[in-house]
């Protein structure tokens, strides 16, 4: 992919798009002939129509997926400038389809760095690299995050933006980044000191909701899951900056991780015994949902699947006559009942179990796709497609492991440095050329702290 421009760009969009009226030609193309009611014969001159008018070519370009779009910028000056053209971006926001892609990052180790991370000894391990995965074509792309400062890790993504949170214990700094255009938007830091809280994020064209939960530092060396802070901004001017803190249910123990957003709630997995914690964004309340077959689950993960919360886990209990399998359950509308919606075909499960060897696996979902990654083995991952009911092995990421000689402006051979032995973690990501929410944040004057 092309190197990205480093100047942050802010876009200002009107929130209403032009509506066609009887007097104006809908798409405003000046080269199209006018509608004649009286029937005058205007022939389409082949010299004129051998080329499409610019507006239509723009419309076609707006449908290109980001990697193809960036390649197309080399076609001519006009294409190059489309990325900065308000007209094009408005068109893009109207027509560009949602893409259920994924982005993965190398796991940072160690995770228990309460001490300040001393990076001066790690030469060249500084810039974060992301690996973009297109499940429709099973292809990988590398993305550079050169602008992200030291000490931040990616935790979540929504609306085309990726959320980075500071690693250091204490009040957390948060950045929203669009890697395709190199823009970074800082949010005000959280209020309570935390170690590695779980983050839930959902962004639409006109609102941001963020929840930061758990890992409260009750003393410099002790953490407890106590509270949640939430952040909200929307186009109607309503905002709540870490104003509401709500208590977590007692004795909950969720591993720090991401929260999955489904229809106005954030969900995360709770351990020993397994259950699902649900946070209602509107009312700032937590509740617990029992997990299906909770005593027989292994390596459960939550993913969002086509508008529903889906639990993915291996099922095994040697004492029962329950065949070992990998199953998916969907939470029903009542909010408490689960229904099994899918099971990995037995033959495939045998293969999978052999590779996985009891180490566990992580799952991430986006739209109709679920990616199942075997722990400690970034080469082997499965892709499941809800719509086509298809299971596929994903080709290994070419930027990780043996093929790490690819230069992306930072070395990938970091086995001794910050990044661990090739284990990938990630989340669903819809690569967008523009996110209108940036304009919204610009318009509201908030006391942002610099993150230097």
């Amino acid at each position: 992919m092309e190197a990205f421009h480093h100047a942050p760009i802010s876009f200002h969009f009107p929130y209403a798009f032009p509506v066609p009226t009887p007097t104006t030609n809908f798409l405003g193309t000046t080269t199209a002939p006018n509608l004649s009611i009286n029937g005058s014969d205007t022939w389409m001159d082949s010299r004129i129509w051998s080329r499409l008018p610019h507006r239509l070519i723009d419309r076609i370009v707006a449908f290109l997926p980001p990697p193809a779009f960036f390649r197309a910028r080399a076609v001519c000056k006009r294409f190059y400038g489309l990325l900065y053209s308000t007209h094009f971006l408005e068109l893009y926001l109207q027509v560009s389809p949602q893409r259920h892609w994924f982005i993965f990052f190398k796991q940072k180790v160690p995770r228990n760095n309460i001490y300040k991370n001393n990076n001066s000894t790690n030469a060249g391990s500084n810039s974060v690299e992301g690996y973009l995965f297109d499940p429709d074509n099973l292809s990988w792309y590398g993305l550079s995050f050169a602008l992200i400062p030291q000490g931040f890790s990616p935790v979540s993504s929504s609306g085309g933006l990726i959320c980075f949170v500071s690693d250091e214990a204490g009040s957390k700094n948060i950045l929203l980044c669009n890697p395709l255009v190199g823009s970074i938007i800082p949010l005000p830091p959280t209020l309570r000191p935390r170690l590695f809280p779980s983050i839930g994020l959902t962004i639409t064209n006109s609102s941001i909701d963020l929840a930061v939960a758990g890992d409260d530092l009750i003393s410099p060396y002790a953490v407890k899951n106590l509270t949640t802070e939430s952040f909200h901004i929307d186009g109607n001017g309503f905002y709540s900056i870490w104003g509401t803190t709500s208590s977590l249910p007692r004795l909950c123990s969720f591993e720090s991780g991401k929260m999955v957003h489904v229809q106005g709630r954030f969900y995360c997995m709770n351990f020993s015994p397994f259950s699902v914690l649900s946070y209602d964004i509107g009312t700032n309340n937590w509740s617990k949902i029992q997990a299906p077959m909770r005593r027989f689950l292994r390596s459960p993960s939550l993913v969002e699947g086509n508008g529903r919360l889906v639990l993915v886990a291996a099922v095994e209990k040697s004492k029962l006559n329950v065949p070992r399998s990998l199953r998916l359950w969907a939470l029903q509308d009542c909010g408490t009942m689960w229904v099994e919606i899918e099971r990995m075909p037995q033959q495939l499960y045998v293969q999978f179990a052999e590779l996985e060897n009891g180490q566990g696996f992580n799952c991430v979902g986006h739209g109709e796709f679920v990616v199942i990654m075997i722990k400690n083995n970034s080469d082997k991952a499965l892709l499941f497609d809800f719509c086509k009911k298809r299971w596929l092995w994903i080709p290994p990421c070419p930027f990780v492991g043996g093929n790490s000689n690819v230069d992306y402006g930072g070395t990938s051979n970091n086995y001794g440095g910050e990044y661990g032995g090739g284990e990938l973690h990630g989340f669903g990501y819809d690569p967008r050329l523009a996110a209108p929410i940036g304009a919204l944040l610009d318009q509201l004057t908030l006391p942002f702290q610099s993150f230097n």
Binding site: P22, L27, L35, W49, L52, L56, R59, L64, V75, K77
Partner: protein
């Protein structure tokens, strides 16, 4: 049979097509023209060739069918575009733009995007007939 109102369209090469008004109104251009055309007996002239119009009507008809599954529609769309060569596809894009029939316009644009996705910049230039002269032309026009 329903008592649907019918509309007659006359293409640029003189062919006439009769459609249900509801279907024809998928084109905003036709809809707006019909609302200002008080004489209901004369056919509405549209600046679209008949062979392109046939394709447009074929698409509209399929997408107006009731009791058709998503899968069947997807298969239809795939086959509908598969057989079109570049010039027919471009004709369709131009026609649906003129007709302001956004659903089909976007489907056609997406199809073109699919065809150029894997092309090199040189191939894309070739595909759209983009030349260096274009830029010099535009520059000259702007300065005159």
């Amino acid at each position: 049979m329903s008592s649907e109102k019918l509309l007659t369209l006359k293409t640029s090469d003189g062919e006439e097509f009769v459609l249900e008004e509801a279907m024809a109104f998928r084109s905003l251009t036709i809809k707006n023209a019909a609302s200002t055309n008080t004489n209901n007996n004369t056919p509405l002239s549209i600046n679209v060739q008949s062979n392109t119009m046939i394709k447009v009507i074929e698409y509209w008809t399929k997408h107006s069918e009731r009791d058709i599954s998503e899968d069947q529609l997807m298969t239809f769309d795939k086959n509908f575009f598969k057989l079109m060569d570049k010039s027919k596809l471009f004709d369709l894009v131009l026609a649906t733009n003129y007709l302001a029939a956004t659903e089909l316009l976007d489907a056609a644009c997406e199809q073109v995007a699919d065809r150029i996705r894997r092309k090199t910049p040189e191939e894309i230039r070739d595909f759209f007939n983009i030349t260096r002269e274009d830029e010099e032309q535009i520059f000259k026009e702007l300065n005159n």
